[in-house]
């Protein structure tokens, strides 16, 4: 039998300065109007919670643009910082490009510390690379992203991007 992780990598790789900054000074926080969809997501293991609103502009024909993402959340530094970083990354993008970022972030989180993140696409979110090594924290980092994805799908009328 091989024990999965005899040695935990140093925590600095989890709690990057960027993460702590976003945690202490979150961006785009608070619930705003207008919005087309609001969702509440919950991480039942740890009680992390987010209520998130998405405001889109455009149409199915012309394409959708993420006009605003607002949220109210409770949780650990990882989940809080992740929400802040996520909003930075998706607001202002068209849904297709934002979804590409989402996909890249998801891949990174599922990589168990093995992926080489795409810095151009992920920007500040590369700081979460270390989180992917901590199975129990991956859910924290993904909470806001999942909520965004869910709300966006709803806002587009149920069709997937």
């Amino acid at each position: 039998m091989s024990v999965p992780s005899q040695s935990t990598p140093h925590l600095d790789s989890l709690y990057q300065e960027i993460i702590l900054d976003h945690y202490k000074h979150p961006h785009h926080r608070g619930l705003r109007e207008p919005f087309e969809a609001e969702v509440r997501h919950l991480n039942p293991t740890c009680g992390d919670e987010i209520t998130l609103r998405v405001h889109l502009e455009g149409s199915a024909a012309d394409g959708w643009r993420v006009a605003d993402v607002s949220y109210d959340s409770e949780g650990c530094s990882i989940s809080q910082a992740s929400a802040s970083v996520m909003t930075d990354l998706v607001i202002g993008k068209d849904v297709e490009s934002a979804t590409a970022v989402y996909d890249e972030f998801l891949t990174l989180m599922q990589s168990k510390g093995q992926a080489e993140p795409d810095e151009d696409l992920l920007e500040d979110a590369v700081a979460f690379a270390g989180v992917s090594r901590y199975a129990a924290r991956v859910k924290c980092a993904l909470l806001s992203w999942m909520a965004w994805r869910d709300a966006t799908t709803q806002a587009m009328g149920g069709s997937t991007a």
Partner: protein
């Protein structure tokens, strides 16, 4: 790299045991439970000595390791049976719980019919009897032929538009019969019934591919496949398991709980209430590794050879009648028999004196015993480490039994 049974036996410490000085163990009770290789025992001990923690809810190092090891056991099982999705693999305490889970949660009501067979183990019969009693559904069954096979002439009569579930055994623990899963499953599918296959005796002895089987759910149990006691497996199609209500309530199987009500976790956790059998999942994973290393086709070939050998040797014993198929086609290595005029209890007892461990009784398949007019049988059953020398010891033991009662 041929199949080297002498080398394999070295992995199983118990096979060296002498019951009494000069009386080595001849273990032919494998259909009841298998022995465990050192690899499995080591994996569990390592888990307890290095990584023991409760799973899922913790973020400390041990909890992460324990979770990875536990879920690693699930991954291994999923690969072993070729599950399409690891979430289809639910850990239970044994086959019996897995079958009860299905019988409790599949929707049934008055007018509905559940079909089983006359060769079911009580664990795949009693849960359906209870389900029918509870819901008002009716239990029907497919009968058996004189030579120990399903009476397929019954199929069209028994399985009808009212049939909601067909639950049947892959390989009979009493008769050794391997059933034609494709035929029964096709008939069940044609009337829209769900199929539940009891693989307790097949998964340990042949390659089982759930995607090829064409059934909706299967159950099996670790202790018969070189794994530990205390853990079994329910595999079910994702869409089916998703539809079903929860079975046991408690920790781990919930999403959100308030005093007023609760919502359920995702699969497979919805069906895993409470602290799961963690060390046992690690042990089962190691057992699956062990079986995979030897190769299920090689194991099956070895056991098939033994079955051919044993069937021939046993039928040469005067007054011995095989209960079940008398040839090794579509049949596994559990062989039940009656010895003219001598009760199985006496057979088993006298064999034990010579170190030969067989099982006697109705083997939890009493209806099939009744069908063949015997209150009980003597059953010898082989596994991957069994040898022809052990079959010889059985046969010479039977000669001894006969002499003892003829004196």
């Amino acid at each position: 790299m041929s199949y080297d049974v002498a080398r394999i036996r070295k992995d199983f410490p118990i096979l060296d045991r002498e019951l009494r000085p000069g009386v080595p163990l001849v273990y032919l009770d494998n259909a009841a439970t298998s022995q465990k290789p050192a690899q499995v025992l080591d994996a569990m001990r390592d888990y307890y000595e290095q990584s023991n923690a409760n799973v899922h809810r913790g973020i400390h190092t041990l909890a992460e390791e324990a979770t990875a090891l536990y879920e690693g056991g699930r991954d291994k099982v999923a690969r072993f049976i070729n599950a399409g999705d690891v979430r289809e693999v639910v850990f239970t305490k044994n086959s019996t719980e897995a079958l009860n889970l299905m019988a409790r949660t599949l929707p049934l009501g008055p007018g509905d019919e559940v079909v089983v067979t006359e060769m079911e183990h009580h664990s795949n019969l009693v849960p359906w009897q209870l389900a029918c009693a509870r819901t008002g559904a009716t239990l029907k069954w497919i009968g058996l032929t004189d030579d120990g096979r399903l009476d397929l002439d019954d199929l069209d009569r028994v399985i009808t538009e009212r049939t909601k579930v067909v639950a049947f055994v892959h390989q009979s623990n009493l008769l050794g019969t391997v059933n034609p899963v494709d035929v029964v499953a096709a008939k069940a599918r044609s009337v829209g019934a769900r199929t539940v296959l009891d693989c307790s005796q097949s998964v340990p002895h042949m390659g089982v591919d759930v995607q090829a089987l064409g059934v909706d759910a299967i159950a099996f149990t670790a202790h018969k496949m070189c794994g530990p006691t205390g853990i079994g497996v329910l595999w079910g199609r994702l869409d089916l398991l998703d539809e079903l209500p929860p079975f046991l309530g408690g920790g781990e199987m919930i999403d959100e709980v308030t005093m007023a009500g609760s919502t359920w976790a995702q699969l497979p956790h919805k069906f895993e209430a409470g602290t799961p059998p963690i060390a046992e999942a690690v042990g089962l994973g190691a057992a699956v590794d062990y079986l995979t290393e030897l190769g299920m086709p090689a194991i099956r070939a070895h056991e098939h050879e033994l079955t051919v050998y044993a069937l021939e040797a046993l039928q040469a014993v005067d007054g011995l009648r095989i209960i079940g198929p008398t040839t090794a086609d579509e049949r596994g290595g559990a062989i039940s028999f009656a010895l003219e005029g001598i009760h199985p209890h006496d057979v088993g007892q006298l064999l034990d004196e010579r170190g030969v461990a067989v099982r006697v009784g109705h083997h939890c398949a009493r209806p099939a015993c009744l069908r063949y007019g015997v209150p009980a049988t003597t059953r010898a059953s082989v596994h991957l480490y069994s040898t022809t020398a052990e079959i010889d010891a059985l046969v010479s033991g039977l000669d001894h039994v006969k002499r003892f009662f003829e004196r």
